[in-house]
Structures are given as structure tokens and as C-alpha cells.
């Protein structure tokens, strides 16, 4: 029987939750990574390893790795540097495992790769020459969080092709492993003036439909958007949602038209509206939206969920999971129809990833 594993990154270490294929009863282990703040933790389906991007206020940035689902951990930052005269790295947030290697997106913005399972790292690109590149290193131009390269989305079939998000600035696509880049923001909305309309968009989360690689979705600072041409152009699909702001997003593994978001108040609070927790789902690619809240707190629940805070598994009937800024993990084993709380009292959660193991 399959087992289901959740990897939960928090401000005070990484946690692992395990269940079977029913996904009703969960056991938790942790905290791991010596309680370091973890910005993103992922499971590598090829190697079975867990990788957790951490940044200690004392000891700097490093990437933790465990090859035995969290029993033992090692830390490395070897090669994760711009050199003695270069930019400094405050954290790694973007983390992706695909095609036999790991990719890490850093702040200050740059892309690193590891081909030995996270033991050593090498700089791949700093996207020099891209529009407004000179602004990215100026703290005054950076959005809160200072995430730099906040995410990396690998192409499922093409190791040389992937997309990255520079927080507050742009999606960029490369088709030649980072040698050249193209901004992919056509059709996006920005509620602020842009000197160069090619860039200047605040992309929070980007996902690609496993069942149709032309289909992408994104949660943007300014609305939900869909692409039917692999990110070359975008249309807004926010109508029907209680807010056009949010961070987390997930796409159904078997149905390209089914997509999940967690709308948040767009002000300083950035929590679920009116203290009533809900995930929202479309089954028609964003034409209509349904509120999913059965089993979620109905009142006084001021929950925030960050950009890596929601995950979906790939069972025939997929399960969804999200972790909150107040330390709860909620799970659904029926595509979001009903929910239960499977963990509480964790430190603030920054990321949730899920793996189904044979």
C-alpha cells in the first residue's frame, strides 16, 4: 500500500508527516534541521531525498538534505556563493528537483545547481542583461520578504527549459539552461506604473498542469491568471473570487481545468477574509469558482498561507494540504470537498510539499 508523506517547512525547522493512502491518520516527526528557519522544503521524487532551504541568523544560508525521510540530515552551502567580491546570499527560497539535479533560487537573485544531491553547488545564472536587472540588488526596490529568485518551475520533459520568478519583477523562461532568458508576463496586470511593460509584475506562484503542459496558472499580487500557451500569454480569471490576492496555488494532477487557490485580504493582514477559512476551486479553468470550507474553521480564524504553503498529491482522487502562518496543517483526501486539521501548534509554516511513495 502506498504511503503519503508531507514535508512541512517552518520558521523553526522542518517536520515530516506520514499517512497511508487513505490520508486520514497522520504521524508527525520533527523538528529537524536544528530548528533553522526553513523557507522551502521539497521531496525529490527521483532520488527520494528531502531538501530544505534554510537560513540561520548566525550561520548563514545552507541547504539541508536527508536521504531517509528525515531520520538523518546533512547541511551544505559549498559553492552557494557569488564569491568574495560578489553579491551576498541572505536566503534560498526557490528549490526544485528535476532531471537528476537540484536547482536553487537565491536572494540576491541568482540560480544555482547541484548535480551531486546537494553536496556542492555551482552558479548557473544571475540573469544579467535582463530588463531592470540593475534594480534587483537594491533593497529599496525589493518587496517584503526579499526572496530574490522566489521559485523555479522545471519543464517536465525538457531539462534545459524552466521558468523562474524574480519576486516583484517578472517570470523569466529559459530554453537553454540559463544561457538566455525571456520575460513571460504578457497579459498580466500591474496596479502600479511601469516604465517597461515587459517586466514589473509581482508573480507569487506559478504552476503547470501535469495533464497538459501547455496549461499554466499563476497567483499574482494582482489577480489569478491562466495561460494556454505555456506562459507566453496570460488571461485574468479572478472574477468570482473574494479577493484577487493570495500566495498559494495548486493544479489538479489529472484535470488541467481544475485549479485551487487560497484568496487572502490584500492589505497588511494577508489572511483569509472575515476569519472564515476557505480554499477556492475552479473546475472550468477559471470561468467559475467554488468555495470549499467543509471542516475548516468558520470564525475567528485569521489564517495566512504563503506561496509554497499548499500542495496536491497525485492519487486518482487527489488530496490537498495547506499549512498556515499560525502553525496548522489542514488536509483533504477528496479533492478539497472536506477538510480536517492534521497538525497544530507548529511554528509558522512557510512550505508544504507532498510525496506518494510506493
Amino acid at each position: 500500500m502506498s504511503s503519503t508523506v508531507l514535508i512541512v517547512g517552518t520558521r523553526k525547522g522542518c517536520f515530516v508527516l506520514e499517512s497511508d493512502a487513505d490520508r486520514r491518520n497522520w504521524k508527525m516527526r520533527g523538528p529537524f534541521c536544528n530548528g533553522w528557519p526553513i523557507f522551502n522544503a521539497v521531496h525529490d521524487s527521483e532520488s527520494g531525498a528531502i531538501y530544505a532551504a534554510g537560513a540561520s541568523e548566525w550561520h548563514g544560508t545552507g541547504i539541508w538534505r536527508s536521504s531517509d525521510l528525515g531520520e538523518n540530515w546533512e547541511l551544505s552551502s559549498e559553492g552557494l556563493t557569488y564569491g568574495d567580491n560578489g553579491m551576498k546570499i541572505s536566503k534560498v527560497h526557490g528549490l526544485a528537483a528535476a532531471h537528476g539535479r537540484l536547482l536553487a533560487g537565491a536572494e540576491a537573485a541568482g540560480l544555482f545547481e547541484s548535480r551531486d544531491g546537494g553536496k556542492t553547488w555551482a552558479l548557473l545564472s544571475t540573469l544579467d542583461g535582463q530588463p531592470n536587472r540593475e534594480l534587483w540588488n537594491d533593497p529599496a526596490n525589493q518587496p517584503p520578504g526579499h526572496l530574490g529568485m522566489s521559485a523555479i518551475l522545471p519543464h517536465p520533459d525538457d531539462a534545459l527549459r524552466y521558468w523562474v520568478i524574480i519576486q516583484g519583477h517578472s517570470i523569466f523562461e529559459t530554453t537553454d539552461d540559463g544561457a538566455t532568458w525571456t520575460p513571460r508576463n504578457k497579459g498580466l496586470r500591474a496596479d502600479w506604473p511601469l516604465e517597461n511593460p515587459e517586466v514589473g509584475y509581482c508573480v507569487h506562484k506559478l504552476v503547470l498542469a501535469p495533464s497538459d503542459h501547455q496549461r499554466m496558472y499563476q497567483q499574482n499580487h494582482c489577480g489569478m491568471h491562466r495561460s494556454d500557451d505555456q506562459g507566453q500569454s496570460w488571461v485574468e480569471i479572478s472574477e468570482g473570487l473574494p479577493s484577487d490576492f493570495g500566495f498559494a496555488a495548486a493544479v489538479h494532477p489529472h484535470d488541467k481545468d481544475t485549479f485551487y487557490v487560497i484568496p487572502l485580504d490584500p492589505g497588511h493582514g494577508r489572511v483569509m477574509p472575515e476569519g472564515h477559512a476557505a480554499v477556492w476551486r475552479t473546475r472550468d479553468a477559471g470561468s467559475t469558482w467554488q468555495r470549499l470550507d467543509r471542516g475548516l474553521p468558520e470564525r475567528d480564524a485569521h489564517l495566512g498561507v504563503l506561496r509554497e504553503g499548499m500542495a496536491i498529491d497525485d492519487y486518482d482522487v487527489p488530496g490537498l494540504y495547506f499549512g498556515t502562518s499560525t502553525g496548522q496543517v489542514f488536509a483533504s483526501n477528496d479533492e478539497g470537498e472536506s477538510w480536517s486539521e492534521i497538525a497544530d501548534y507548529l511554528p509558522a509554516i512557510s512550505s508544504v510539499d507532498v510525496a506518494v511513495l510506493a
Binding site: E57, W58, H59, G60
Partner: protein, 87 residues
């Protein structure tokens, strides 16, 4: 030999790293380099590019605030402190 005292936050990261050890080095930087030879990666936990001490790592040599280029005497006491921070 300088007497080096390390913060507790380092021990879980490096196998059999003691809290206190004697080290032959002419400067703070050289002492950290000796540690890094025995426990690879340790320099990155104390220093950032520049190189410089990380902002929340303080080093004292014989109770005086020190930097990487501070000289060590034969019987110097070197305290590496993880500053009070976080929450």
C-alpha cells in the same frame, strides 16, 4: 596554542566538534581555516563573502572584540559567540 571556545549552535552541524579546543594559528582567520580543514564547511558557518565574520557572529580575543585579521598570541583565549538574536 590558542584556546578556542565555540558556540553550542555549531556542535550539531559537525561530527565530534568540541566546544573547546587548542589550535595553532597566528590570526583569527587562520584559526577558522584550521577548523575548516578538520570540519569542512565550518568556515561558511562563521564567515560570509568578503571574507568577513557573519553579522551575528562575534569573536573575542582575550576579552577584546576581534576581527578576522586580529593576531593571536601563544596563550590567547578566543571566544566565538553567536550573538543574542532571533525570537
Amino acid at each position: 596554542m590558542a584556546e578556542l571556545h565555540l558556540p553550542t549552535t555549531l556542535q550539531p552541524l559537525f561530527q565530534e566538534l568540541p566546544r573547546k579546543l587548542d589550535i595553532e594559528a597566528a590570526t583569527v582567520a587562520e584559526a577558522i581555516e584550521r577548523l575548516n580543514e578538520q570540519w569542512p564547511g565550518l568556515r561558511d558557518r562563521l564567515c560570509e563573502p568578503g571574507p568577513a565574520l557573519r553579522p551575528h557572529i562575534n569573536v573575542y580575543v582575550d576579552r577584546e572584540r576581534a576581527q578576522l585579521d586580529t593576531a593571536l598570541e601563544a596563550r590567547s583565549r578566543v571566544d566565538v559567540i553567536a550573538a543574542i538574536s532571533g525570537g
